[in-house]
């Protein structure tokens, strides 16, 4: 496995900057940054099925919500943070493989619709099942309060592990098969691979990451509600990933960070019309940078490198 030196440098540099950040940030922005990292993990779960395997899933909120509730319930029963988080990820991974098994029969627009309907269905079930989920009011997690910085470094550490794990995955033989399926299902089949099987694996891994994000989010926010299942959360990860750059590991994080901070600063300046501005900005960026922020940065970098060697 080869990793380009540039990527390693960027990774270490951003890890360093992120690790030093709490010193400069106020409480509010530290919470925002912590959330952003979780959104990044969540968006990465979508990127795995879309950017790497070519399936436009609108059902990621199903795994996010499930992870959140598994965390809530296991946190009450089990002491410690690690086991509930692992459980949140694992249960969502299992659910992911079931969902994958059900949805890989269809593709294209039908696939999109089936996953969207699934997200809506889970949301409705979560609202109706108040005895289990607490409905829209949700359930409180008695997390105590270990401190904002503690939470931030916890999430940062998990994010770094997630990024490294995902890089290893997409560079592995398994990741190669995902990319083959994205490029051409037909040719993948002709080379002897069971496309369905690999799609289910991709879904399961995607569920794992989304569930982890859900668990982390309910931990730092101290609650989980039926709204976690809402399909608009699925839409968020689609937008973040495409904006940041699908089919890259950094893209989802960049997209999530960009929109979170743009939303935050625009809402402070412009008040109520900020959603319109944010929407306009998204449309503009997708039109101008079809390959996302990462794609644009990559092109700029290549140009600089060419210019450098050309001298």
């Amino acid at each position: 496995m080869r990793i380009r030196v540039e990527y390693a440098v960027v990774f270490l540099l951003s890890a360093f900057i992120l690790a030093a950040t709490p010193v400069f940030l106020g409480k509010f922005h530290l919470i925002l940054l912590t959330e952003t990292l979780i959104w990044g993990i969540f968006a990465l779960s979508f990127d795995l099925v879309y950017g790497y395997t070519g399936m436009l899933s609108f059902g990621q909120s199903v795994f996010f919500g499930t992870g959140a509730y598994v965390f809530v319930y296991s946190f009450e029963g089990i002491a410690g943070l690690v086991i509930p988080l692992v459980l949140a990820a694992l249960v969502s991974a299992v659910l992911g493989s079931f969902v994958g098994w059900a949805v890989v029969r269809v593709s294209g627009a039908r696939f999109f619709l089936v996953t969207l309907v699934l997200a809506i269905l889970f949301h409705l079930l979560a609202i109706e099942g108040r005895w289990l989920t607490g409905g829209d009011d949700g359930l409180i997690v008695p997390v105590g309060f270990p401190g904002l910085e503690y939470n931030y470094y916890l999430v940062l550490g998990i994010s770094a592990l997630t990024v490294m794990g995902t890089v290893i995955l997409v560079k592995s033989p398994l990741g190669l098969v995902f990319k083959m399926i994205r490029d051409s299902e037909r040719r993948t089949r002709l080379l002897g691979y069971s496309v369905k099987k690999y799609k289910i694996i991709a879904f399961s891994l995607s569920g794992l990451l989304a569930g982890l994000a859900g668990g982390l989010y309910s931990y730092i926010s101290g609650f989980a509600s039926a709204g976690f299942f809402h399909w608009s959360r699925s839409a968020d990860v689609v937008i973040w990933t495409i904006l940041g750059g699908a089919g890259t590991v950094a893209g989802p994080f960049i997209g999530a960070a960009l929109l979170t901070f743009v939303r935050d600063s625009l809402s402070a300046i412009t008040g109520k019309i900020y959603p319109v501005l944010v929407g306009g900005l998204i449309v503009f960026s997708v039109l101008v940078f079809p390959r996302g922020v990462i794609g644009m940065l990559g092109e700029v970098y290549e140009k600089i490198k060419e210019g450098w060697h050309g001298r």
């Binding site: 083959m180 051409s184 040719r187 002709l190 080379l191």
Partner: protein, 262 residues
């Protein structure tokens, strides 16, 4: 017939009432190369797709190495040793040449295979793409895409290779290379030997067809009219007629797509 490497009996395919293939009997022995020719829409591509498993038969039987494989999926047939090179070049566009090959080499075994990289390199060498290994496949010229396609199918270690018009639309240099490869593939004492025991290919270019094939089958309107050595088959009336008409037409065929396959 029971001992053939590959045999089909009464193979038929119908698309919405259109009979693309009608009761074809055919067999391929170990070490044999068979070419299939015929006018546009005769069912040549359908024939290969049925054997590869890409489309399901309407009726008939396909046997490979003594086993009935009629109901096997396309991926299972590949793992059994039947590789199919489609008519349109189809490497994975965003992957490098080397990764395209790696993808093929892993079929059937998901564990690291010792010496695989060496094998990949020698296969790249064989098709003349060694200096292209880090190029993204979508940037290759047409002819090299087809060479890569062939290489990808070869690294799945097939016993039977099916190739649909491997030289159509390809520049002369690449076409020459593909032709040489097809001749050498099934001979065990050549550098091209990859354990391929049999080759079936569809070809419009009669020079390539008669140079490469041990035996040629002539398909027309879904029926296998005649079969035999190139010398013999050239003397048959229906083939003569076809060849004299076909002489004026050397362009790239689109006829097989009419059957609604692609």
């Amino acid at each position: 017939m029971g001992d053939s490497l590959l045999s089909v009996k009464g193979l038929s395919k119908e698309y919405d009432g259109f009979e693309a293939l009608r009761k074809v009997d055919f067999s391929l022995e170990s070490g044999e190369t068979k070419g299939v020719m015929g006018p546009n829409g005769a069912g040549k591509s359908t024939f290969l797709k049925l054997i590869s498993g890409e489309i399901d038969v309407t009726s008939g039987l396909i046997k490979f190495d003594g086993r009935k494989i009629t109901n096997y999926s396309v991926e299972r047939r590949c793992r059994q040793g039947i590789a199919y090179v489609p008519q349109k070049p189809s490497p994975f566009p965003t992957l490098t040449v080397k990764d395209n090959l790696r993808g093929g080499a892993r079929a059937g075994s998901y564990l690291p295979v010792p010496g695989r990289e060496v094998k990949l390199d020698s296969t790249l060498d064989l098709v003349g793409l060694s200096d292209r290994s880090e190029v993204v496949a979508s940037e290759l010229p047409y002819g090299e895409k087809r060479l890569l396609d062939l290489a990808m199918s070869l690294v799945t270690r097939p016993r039977v290779l099916l190739a649909d018009e491997p030289t159509a639309g390809v520049d002369n240099r690449s076409a020459g290379r593909i032709t040489d490869l097809m001749i050498e593939l099934t001979k065990s004492d050549t550098p091209a030997a990859r354990g391929v025991e049999g080759l079936i290919f569809v070809e419009h270019d009669r020079n390539v067809l008669f140079e490469v094939a041990d035996e040629v089958g002539f398909l027309k309107a879904g029926k296998l009219l005649v079969e035999g050595s190139p010398e013999k088959i050239k003397e048959r009336k229906c083939v003569k007629e076809y060849l004299s008409e076909h002489g004026a037409f050397l362009g790239y065929s689109r006829g097989d797509q009419r059957a609604g396959i692609d």
